[in-house]
């Protein structure tokens, strides 16, 4: 059933990571990604991997969920991994026809696979532990400096919030319309791809009509309450930068410095 789908990927909880400020989570994620790609030898990569597992452990979310997030990019991981094996330089280990496996290639492949996997899992930490509304609030806050370029940050954030809010509503609506058309004999499961695409028309048109109707209703309702975005708006839930965030930032800083140091101390392989 479409209805059983959870909104986005958010998994409510009360762990240390859940309670971090969404803004610090976003900034730390960006820093994490930068440093993940700055790892230039196996010691750095090991530090990063251990750090990642610590974060995952702190979220108190089953590791299986993270493996599921990897499933989405499994094809990418496998293809880039294989490509890298054959496109390296250095000592030749094995050769057949046009395929050459080099030591450099193997190392590259290992790095790429670990990096993409970690990147995916830690990005999932953000979406798993932060509610969509917190996320858009945080983005709005972080994008605020862009207002000097006359970018309507508040409006963009509002649009994102509304879009997220309406995902379950529209899924529900799709479910209903599909049932109604199936009751009139619409066949959406069988037939050639072209027929199946055509079978979607009776669902998509009513869905668009209803989306526009809802958008109109929402706009009217917002205007009736004198909604006026942007300046001087206060919030019900104010984001707080707490001691917890400070602790998380400092320990991340520590790990990131460790990576720089290990990059300097050990010989770099990539």
């Amino acid at each position: 059933m479409v209805r059983d789908m959870t909104l986005g990927q958010y998994l409510p909880g009360n762990s240390f990571v859940h309670r971090l400020d969404a803004r610090s989570k976003i900034l730390l994620l960006i820093a994490y990604i930068v440093f993940l790609f700055l790892c230039r030898n196996f010691v750095s990569l090991l530090i990063m991997t251990l750090f990642s597992f610590l974060i995952i452990f702190l979220t108190r979310i089953s590791f299986l969920k993270y493996l599921k997030s990897l499933r989405l990019v499994l094809v990418v991981i496998i293809i880039t991994g294989i490509m890298n094996i054959f496109y390296g330089s250095g000592e030749v280990l094995w050769q057949w026809w046009i395929f050459t496996v080099t030591k450099g290639g193997l190392i590259n492949a290992a790095f790429v696979v670990v990096r993409i996997s970690l990147l995916m899992m830690i990005s999932s930490v953000l979406t798993y532990t932060t509610s969509p509304t917190d996320l858009t609030d945080a983005l709005e806050c972080l994008m605020k400096p862009l207002t000097i370029f006359h970018i309507k940050v508040h409006e963009i954030a509002m649009m994102m919030t509304i879009a997220l809010r309406f995902i379950p509503v529209l899924l529900d609506e799709t479910d209903k319309i599909m049932n109604a058309q199936k009751s009139r004999g619409a066949d959406m499961e069988n037939g050639s791809p072209i027929r199946r695409v055509k079978a979607l028309i009776p669902v998509l048109i009513p869905l668009f009509v209803s989306a526009f109707r809802r958008a109109g209703d929402l706009a009217t309702a917002m205007e009736c309450r004198c909604y006026n975005g942007g300046k001087n708006r206060t919030r019900m839930k104010v984001l707080h930068f707490s001691l917890r965030d400070l602790a998380a930032s400092l320990s991340s800083l520590l790990i990131f410095s460790a990576i720089i140091i290990s990059n300097i101390m050990f010989s770099n392989v990539i």
Binding site: M1, S183, R184, G185, A186, D187, V209
Partner: protein, 286 residues
């Protein structure tokens, strides 16, 4: 012979997941050809799940549903044929309209059945007449119609398939009183002329009392009463216990009875109640 028979149906949403929720438990009934059956129940009592099981949109977790004595899930590939025979009008059906003209929209169902040309044309025009649409409206866009007319067009789209059983889920929700009256009498006419089986889900006890012969009463996923409409409403106290009401006129009769006035509490329509009270008063005067 029964048209639809449900045998010990159980239905669980999201079976095998963390969101498992039993919607129906041990529901059995038989409905005969030509009956007008009402389904009542509190919100969340399983009415919608039940009707979706009857036309094969959902598959029962346990139990069987038979249409003309044949299990509808015998050949899962042929489930479409069941949906043609058990026509289903959902709540707010006007949101399913999509074609360029009302005519084409009504023709969607019968076309899926494989009907063509004259036969198709006949079905569409007949259905439009039953639903109370004017001939000239057939060529206009369904999005230009008024709310009530849109609903008629959507109902016509189901009637056009000429189903053996017509199920209507809250067909009058959101209509004005005149629109309600008109639509209900049209449905009643359809039932009388075609002699089809009709099932009506409604929260309006007045509508139910006026139209139906028998009633299915659902509560918390169970079928708790199945009897003629008079007999069900005669058990007013029980209905009130599960959050349902009796028609207002029946309620008045029940209150009169409570005050010690001996009236017949089985009056379901205002006309019957009126004559009952007139009889009572003329008896006193004599």
């Amino acid at each position: 012979m029964s048209v639809i028979k449900a045998e010990n149906i159980r239905f669980v949403y999201g079976a095998g997941t963390a969101f498992e929720k039993t919607a129906l438990e041990n529901v059995s009934f038989e409905i005969d050809q030509g009956e007008f059956v009402g389904i009542i129940g509190h919100t969340g009592s399983g009415k919608s799940t039940l009707v979706q099981l009857l036309n094969g949109l959902l598959k029962p977790t346990d139990g069987r549903i038979c249409l003309n004595d044949k299990d509808i899930w015998e050949k899962p590939k042929k489930i479409r044929n069941v949906r043609f025979k058990v026509g289903m009008v959902f709540q707010y059906p006007e949101y399913q309209l999509f074609e360029e003209t009302v005519y084409k929209d009504i023709a969607f169902g019968p076309k899926n059945m494989g009907l063509e040309d004259e036969e198709l044309d006949k079905k569409v025009r007949e259905a439009a007449r039953f639903a109370g649409l004017r001939e000239d409206q057939l060529e206009s866009s369904p999005f230009e119609l008024s709310g009530g007319e849109k609903r008629r067009a959507a109902i016509a789209g189901v009637i056009a398939m000429d189903p053996d059983v017509l199920i209507l889920d809250e067909p009058t929700a959101g209509l004005d009183p005149l629109g309600r009256e008109a639509l209900l009498s049209q449905i009643n006419d359809y039932h009388k002329v075609r002699k089809n089986t009709v099932m009506l889900v409604s929260h309006s006890m007045e509508d139910i009392a006026k139209l139906t012969d028998r009633l299915l009463v659902m509560s918390k996923g169970r079928l708790i009463m199945l009897d003629t409409t008079e007999k069900v409403f005669a058990r007013g106290e029980e209905l009130e216990k599960i959050g349902l009401k009796v028609p207002q006129i029946t309620k008045i009769m029940m209150l009169l009875r409570e005050r010690g006035i001996s009236v017949d509490t089985s009056a379901l329509t205002v006309e019957k109640g009126f004559s009952e009270i007139v009889n009572l008063l003329s008896g006193i005067n004599r």
